[in-house]
Every structure is written in C-alpha cells, then in structure tokens.
C-alpha cells in the first residue's frame, strides 16, 4: 500500500506548535513515517511562495506542489493558460484558494477564469475551510461549476458527515481529505455507502501527525483494494487526469 498524502504544508507563516519552515524539514519526516508521495503547499508569500515551492520540489521524487491563486484582475500572477505551462514544467498539480491570507472574495465573479480553466483542464482545487472558503461558499461555486474537481479539507474535528456527504452525493468530482475526518467507523460507513473512491489520505502535517490517519486506514474494516485507493490511488488518478496541454 502506497501512501500519497494530499495535505502537507510548510513555510514561514505557518502557525504550528512545531513549526516546519523548509522543505528540508519535511522530507525526513515523510521518510520516517513511510510516506512515499505527498502534495505540498507553502504557507508563505503568494507570488514568491509559488515560485519558491516550485524550486523546493524540483528534482525531489514523490513531491508535487499546489499553487495558491489570487484573482487575475491585478495581473500579479500569470493568466490560466500561461500558468498551465509553468505548472507542467514544475510538478504543480493543483490550485488552492486562501482568501483569508490573500484578502479576496471567493465568489464566482471573482474567480471565474480560474474556475473555467479548472473545469476544462480537470485541475483539482484544494479547498481548506480554515483558509476562508466556507462550505456555503463552496456550495455556491459548485452550483455554477458542478464538474469542478475539489479536494475538500473540512477543518473541524467534530463529526462532519451530515455536512460533507451531500457534496459527495451531489457532485461527481468532490473528494474528501481525511485529515480531520477521524470519527470511529467513518471510513467503513462512507465507503460502504458511496464507495472508497471519494476519500483521500491526508495528514495535515505539520499541524497533525502523519501516522494517525495512516494507522486508521491500514486497520479499517474494508477491503485491501479500498485501503489502497484511499491511501494513494485515488489521488494518483486525480492527478493523472489533469490536462496541461
């Protein structure tokens, strides 16, 4: 079983009990935990952070990046088509929204060109509700762009099935990052009802431990095929479907 972590961060702006400032702090932690692949994002400056992330993961097997978006209206970052070329060259597999940090409104009229490109090119958008995109806001985005591929991190440890399952049921490309979904029996319950194809292993490192959700998945009462899907194959499939050209 190969673990492919969908939620790893590092950077100088991270407010963690045990800060992880550089990619050099991430790599040994991944190795010690037995994580083969990870999607990493940098909690940092946005324009400079995107550039630094690409430099950090260059040449490092198993690491893939997510770039942070801001509205194109200010011309600070490349337009979607230009960005796609840069993404392909730099192992960048998705986009994330952080309106809390970047100070914009996560509405359709603000992000329309990004959302259109994401749908057309099957680029996953990484949504963390802790970054300022509420579930209500996400619902509005999906209502207009129902084919959008979303990796949803609901940043709340309270049981969330009543909140999250309708997204999976309604929208074909919404995936749940399990970082904060560790209710006893939840894996078995949701995989039993909707299949294992919607769940992604995520650690939330460095805020959380790699091994907590790993052990939960490894010993869940589901088939080995389902475990492998959740551990990493689902995320690999999402990334393989990105159309850069």
């Amino acid at each position: 079983m190969i673990f492919f972590d969908c939620n790893v961060s590092y950077g100088i702006l991270g407010k963690w009990l045990r800060p992880v400032r550089t990619i050099n702090d991430v790599i040994p932690a991944l190795e010690s935990a037995g994580i083969q692949k990870a999607v990493v994002s940098r909690v940092d400056l946005i324009i400079g952070g995107n550039k630094s992330l690409a430099e950090d993961i260059k040449g490092i097997n198993g690491l893939y990046g997510v770039w942070t978006l801001i509205p194109t209206h200010t011309g600070e970052i490349p337009d979607p088509e230009t960005m796609l070329k840069l993404m392909k060259e730099n192992k960048i597999i998705g986009w994330r929204l952080n309106p809390n940090l970047a100070r914009f409104i996560p509405k359709v009229f603000v992000l329309r060109d990004w959302l259109e490109a994401a749908c057309a090119r099957q680029i996953p958008i990484f949504i963390n509700t802790g970054d300022g995109v509420s579930l209500e806001t996400l619902a509005d985005l999906l209502e207009k762009f129902p084919e959008l591929t979303v990796v949803l991190t609901y940043k709340n440890v309270w049981p969330s099935d009543r909140l999250l399952r309708p997204f999976v049921a309604e929208y074909p490309n919404v995936y749940l990052d399990m970082t904060y979904c560790f209710i006893e029996g939840a894996i078995e319950s949701i995989a039993g009802k909707y299949g294992s194809g919607w769940l992604l292993y995520g650690s939330g490192f460095p805020e959380c431990y790699f091994g907590a959700n790993m052990l939960m998945i490894k010993h869940a009462d589901i088939s080995e095929i389902d475990k492998a899907a959740i551990a990493g194959e689902n995320l690999s499939r999402i990334i393989a479907e990105v159309r850069y050209d």
């Binding site: 935990a33 440890v157 049981p159 099935d161 009543r162 904060y180 431990y209 091994g211 959700n213």
Partner: protein
C-alpha cells in the same frame, strides 16, 4: 510504518493490536448524540472497536446521562452490568439540574460500576468550584474516586484557575483534565507537575502535533492518560498519533496503560495487569 524510530509503532502497524501493549481508555461516551452522526455508538459497536485495538477497559459517560442523568445513568449501569470487565462508568454531574442526594446514592450503591464523576461545566455555564458542586467533590475526595472533567484553556468555567481550585482543595481524588486544558498546554503541564492528583487526558490533544511532545519534555509521561471520546474519535487514530510523537516506547506504554493501571489500582475490582514487555 508510521515511525521508523519506534519498535512499538512497527508492531502496531503490522498487527493493529498488541497483547503486550493493552489500551486503557479514560474518556468515552456512548449512545446517540443528537449533534452528530456517529456510526458506532452502541455498546456492542464500541466493544468491537475495543477488541480490534485491544482496549481492555473503557470508562465512559453516556450522552444521555450528560443531559438527563436520571434516565441515562440506568442505561450506563445496564451496560456495565452486561460487560463488567470491559466498561466502567462516570456518573454525570449535570450542573444545570443537580440532584446530589439521588446521584450520590446511586454511586454509593454501585461501587463496582462507577469509577467517579464526569463534569461538563463549559456546556452548562457553571464553574467547577461552584458551591452547588461541593457534595460531589467531597464524596469523590472521601472515596478516592476519579473525576473526569472537560477542561479548556481560557474557559472561566473549567479553565486552569478552576482546575487548580479543585485539585488543591481535594487531594484524595484523582482529577482527569479532559482535553488537557486544550490550547493552554504550558499551564496544563505546569499544573500536572505541581499537583500529584492531576492527570492530563489526551482526547482532542492528539490532532495537535506538538502538545504531547511538550508534556513529555516537561517529564510528564507518568501523568498522561489515553482517551478517545469514543464513539467519536477513532481509537487507531489516537494510537497512531501517540506512536508518531517524539518520545520513547517506554513513555508510550505509560500513556497507553501503565498510568491508567496505577490509578485504577485503587479499586478492588481492578485486576493487576500482567503485561510482558
């Protein structure tokens, strides 16, 4: 693998449960929770989880007992009577509707079922030290019981100041700070180091990487107790977090069962654990 520096982690990884490293769970509930969908809320479902992880004993307070002790406690007692070696109960202290005579009588009549009391002051807007709670504290102190309380940093109802008032006044009870004064980790460590009768319980601590390491660095591995909030949080998730944190396997054993066995040894019904290393 989880943690290449830990033999215990590698064994748990392969087997999921270890006979030579049992689990004692000091923070659990049971039954339907109107606030949440919980797939495994029955006693039998929780027992299945316990068997999967080799949790040998779980101390719980049913959700119904937290809001309506008169009805809920009977259900909790029924579970303990059915599975006396696997479950023990905390009697709820429902601060918004206290009936101390009735509650203490129920505890007195069932000394092999109740390990002590459960306080949830943040949810009832009553402080731990409120004089209406005095009969419970006195009874727990006189009978050397365990008291599990929801505790949270910054709370005026069950924050550090309130906890200190209780542990300093009632030295014979064991105070289990549920959630370890969540967020106020430094103060939690300070108080646990200062008061012999104060233990830090780890439910909802284990998803904050770093808090556990802070406690260990302060030399508190013998003052920490494992807990899951079952049927909320996955037991394997909690075990995986402890296995991932920076500490020795001996310190992990303290958390998983040694500290718990030590404080449960005050009850005549608790058997001595014969655990080979």
């Amino acid at each position: 693998m989880i943690n290449s520096n830990s033999q215990l982690a590698q064994e748990f990884w392969e087997k999921g449960r270890l006979t030579h490293c049992p689990i004692l769970d000091f923070h659990a509930h049971m039954g339907e929770d109107p606030l949440s969908y919980l797939p495994r809320y029955s006693a039998e479902a929780m027992l299945q989880t316990m068997n999967t992880c080799n949790t040998i004993l779980t101390c719980f307070c049913g959700f119904e007992s937290l809001a309506a002790p008169a009805a809920g406690e009977l259900k909790d007692l029924e579970v303990v009577r059915k599975y006396p070696d696997r479950f023990k109960a905390y009697h709820s202290v429902f601060s918004m509707g206290l009936h101390p005579e009735e509650d203490l009588e129920r505890v007195a009549q069932n000394p092999d079922a109740f390990v002590g009391f459960k306080f949830l002051c943040d949810y009832n807007n009553v402080t731990l030290s409120d004089s209406r709670h005095d009969p419970y504290w006195k009874y727990a102190d006189e009978n050397r019981l365990l008291v599990l309380s929801h505790t949270w940093g910054g709370s005026r109802f069950n924050g550090p100041e309130e906890v200190e008032k209780i542990v300093s006044q009632y030295p014979n009870l064991i105070f289990l700070a549920g959630h370890s004064l969540h967020g106020d980790w430094g103060k939690a460590a300070e108080l646990a180091g200062k008061y012999e009768n104060l233990y830090l319980e780890l439910t909802a601590v284990l998803d904050d990487r770093g808090a556990l390491e802070l406690f260990i660095e302060k030399g508190l591995s013998q003052k920490l107790l494992f807990g899951t909030d079952l049927p909320w949080f996955s037991t394997h998730h909690g075990i995986g977090a402890v296995l991932s944190a920076e500490m020795t396997d001996e310190e992990r054993r303290n958390i998983f069962y040694r500290n718990g066995a030590r404080i449960l040894s005050r009850f005549g019904w608790f058997p001595s654990l014969n655990v080979p290393n």
